[in-house]
């Protein structure tokens, strides 16, 4: 379990927050570090469990790999709908889920904002020429879209306590998650102070046949293109032959 601690990240957060007390006042683990996407993949769940031996609220954030997104607003011109203004959101989390035991986030809002905890605290970057009002509008729409796709989950009641110290959380990953490195961050926040922090990586990869097809398509795209065509030609011919042979004209 100890090896799951990434020491370097931890030290950064210790520097960030001078009021940190004991680093080991929260400890947790997850049921698996890997999500393997094979041809049967239809979403995944990972159990996170842990214990705390100090006061404070448990806050958990899971962040997916960053991607660039293009948000287009549909506009009406003479009664006809068309694609209007476009804003590019750079390096945004393709997945973000959030859990907290805090009923009222007001007291630690500043810290939550610094650590990008909670969907309202996620930083979005658009190009410099986008004015703040537009940025805000398009950002809200992007978050809205992610929530509909179940890629952003804001769950304030998701932490189950087994007793005073033991807790568990079910992390849910929908079927449309991106491949890459995800990080699970577990914080213990007391008032506006970060008293403990831990991060656990999750690797989301394609495996088996699915992975081989993906590699083939990207690494040997010339052959892949020819194979796709050949497959279509052969099956088309075969269907005609079989129909002619067994069903007739």
């Amino acid at each position: 379990m100890i090896k799951l601690f990434t020491a370097s990240l931890l030290s950064i957060f210790i520097l960030l927050s001078p009021s940190i007390s004991v680093a080991s006042s929260i400890i947790s683990g997850i049921s698996t570090n890997e999500i393997n996407i094979d041809t049967k993949f239809n979403g995944a769940e990972i159990l996170l469990f842990g214990a705390k031996d100090d006061f404070g609220n448990i806050v958990i954030a899971v962040r997916g790999p960053k991607k660039n997104f293009l948000v287009t607003r549909k506009e009406k011109l003479f009664g006809i709908w068309h694609n209007g203004k476009r804003v590019k959101m750079k390096e945004s989390y393709s997945y973000y889920s959030f859990f907290s035991t805090a009923r009222d986030t007001g007291t630690s809002e500043q810290l939550m904002s610094e650590l990008e905890l909670g969907k309202n605290n996620i930083d979005f970057n658009s190009s410099a020429d986008v004015n703040p009002e537009d940025k805000n509008e398009f950002q809200i729409q992007l978050v809205d879209h992610f929530e509909k796709e179940k890629l952003y989950l804001n769950n304030s009641h998701g932490v189950d306590f087994l007793d005073e110290t033991l807790f568990k959380v079910m992390l849910k990953f929908p079927k449309n998650i991106a491949r890459g490195l995800y990080s699970v961050e577990i914080y213990l926040i007391n008032d506006n102070n970060l008293s403990s922090f831990q991060t656990i990586p999750i690797y989301v990869n394609q495996v088996g046949l699915s992975a081989r097809v993906l590699d083939f398509a990207y690494q040997q795209s010339f052959l892949y293109g020819l194979l796709s065509i050949a497959l279509a030609l052969v099956v088309g011919w075969l269907a005609n032959y079989l129909f002619f042979r067994f069903i007739g004209k």
Binding site: I37, D38, T39, K40, F41, N42, K67, N68, F69, L70, V71, T72, R73, K74, L77, G79, I80, W81, H82, N83, K88, S94, F138, Q141, L142, D144, H145, K175, N176, A178, R179, Q206, L209, S210, A211, V213, L214, A217, Y218, S221, F222, Y224, G225, L226, L227, S228, I229, L231, A232, L233, V235, G236, W237, L238, A239, N240, F243, F244, I247, K249
Partner: protein
């Protein structure tokens, strides 16, 4: 029954995909259209990213067209000579169209122009075909004599086309026409195909009937013949430049659409040419009608979100 698609990166229901392939294959075999205009939006509807839906449909169209073409070849209902001229124009047109698309995309408002042109174009063709079909069917069934316009615009055009150079006889279709007509025509359609991102068979079919005056019997086969080449070109370019062909998705659709094309072809031969033409007109009109209304009705979501490649 679910299967995860490696390129589209989402799982889909196998049965749904097979049925979708069967339907587009059936249309290909019956009417000689690729069926991309139905498959692409339906694929997007079940959650396949647009770029992958377009490219993978192109791959599937090859199979249904080959399957349908071979069935037509057996009956000798393909004008290969005409098909070759259409392919030449198609390649030039789609290359021009791709460049034009990139140019228009930079200048901004391209979508609205395309949609409007499309609705007007498709709308007028389908209404013309529908009226024509109803006239012929009622004339045969109830002996109604419809007044024939003495000098239609099309006749004027055909007179003019007779004076063009490079007149070539097409024995299969039994027509003599300047090769400039099919080439220019297919360049125009090729441009539209590249702009719209879909097959173009359903523009090619009416053009063959009304402009080239080819007999209905060879229209379906000849259309399928030229579609195969255009679809192969598209599939290959998409696979190499954009990596947007999902071979697992394509394979499922290929199997069912090849079967669908055989069924469609056999159903097509049982229906007389006039009814077949009217059915196609109705189908085109329905697509046009849907497009027309989608221009004016509020979209389900006012914002469109796409993932950009890095």
């Amino acid at each position: 029954m679910q299967i995860y698609l490696p390129i589209a990166e989402i799982p889909v229901n196998v049965i749904v995909i097979l049925l979708l392939g069967l339907l587009t294959g059936f249309l290909a075999g019956m009417f000689g259209i690729g069926g991309g205009f139905i498959a692409t939006p339906l694929l997007m509807f079940i959650g396949i990213p647009p770029a992958i839906a377009v490219s993978t449909s192109a791959n599937q169209i090859i199979a249904s067209s080959v399957s349908g073409l071979l069935a037509n070849l057996r009956r000798g209902a393909v004008d290969i000579k005409m098909g070759l001229f259409l392919i030449i124009g198609g390649f030039i047109g789609s290359s021009l169209g791709v460049s034009l698309f990139q140019l228009l995309q930079k200048t901004g408002q391209i979508d609205i122009v395309i949609s409007l042109v499309y609705v007007i174009f498709l709308g007028s063709i389908s209404i013309m075909m529908l009226i024509d079909g109803i006239k012929t069917i009622t004339a045969k069934k109830y002996n109604i004599v419809w007044a024939v316009k003495e000098n239609s615009n099309m006749d004027g055009f055909l007179k003019w086309a007779e004076d063009l150079p490079w007149q070539v006889h097409f024995p299969k279709s039994g027509i003599t026409i300047s090769v400039l007509v099919p080439i220019t025509l297919s360049i125009g359609i090729g441009v539209l195909v590249a702009l719209m991102g879909i097959g173009g068979g359903f523009i090619m079919i009416p053009a063959m009937i009304y402009i080239l005056r080819m007999p209905s019997a060879v229209v379906v086969g000849t259309s399928l013949f030229q579609i195969i080449f255009i679809a192969c070109n598209t599939t290959f370019l998409q696979a190499v430049t954009n990596n947007t062909v999902d071979i697992v998705l394509a394979f499922l659709m290929i199997i069912s659409s090849s079967i669908g094309a055989q069924i469609g072809n056999r159903s097509g031969t049982k229906v007389d040419a006039d009814s077949l033409r009217s059915f196609l007109a109705l189908l085109l009109f329905a697509v046009c009608f849907k497009m027309f209304f989608s221009l004016f009705t509020s979209p389900e979501s006012l914002y469109l979100i796409e993932v950009l490649k890095k």
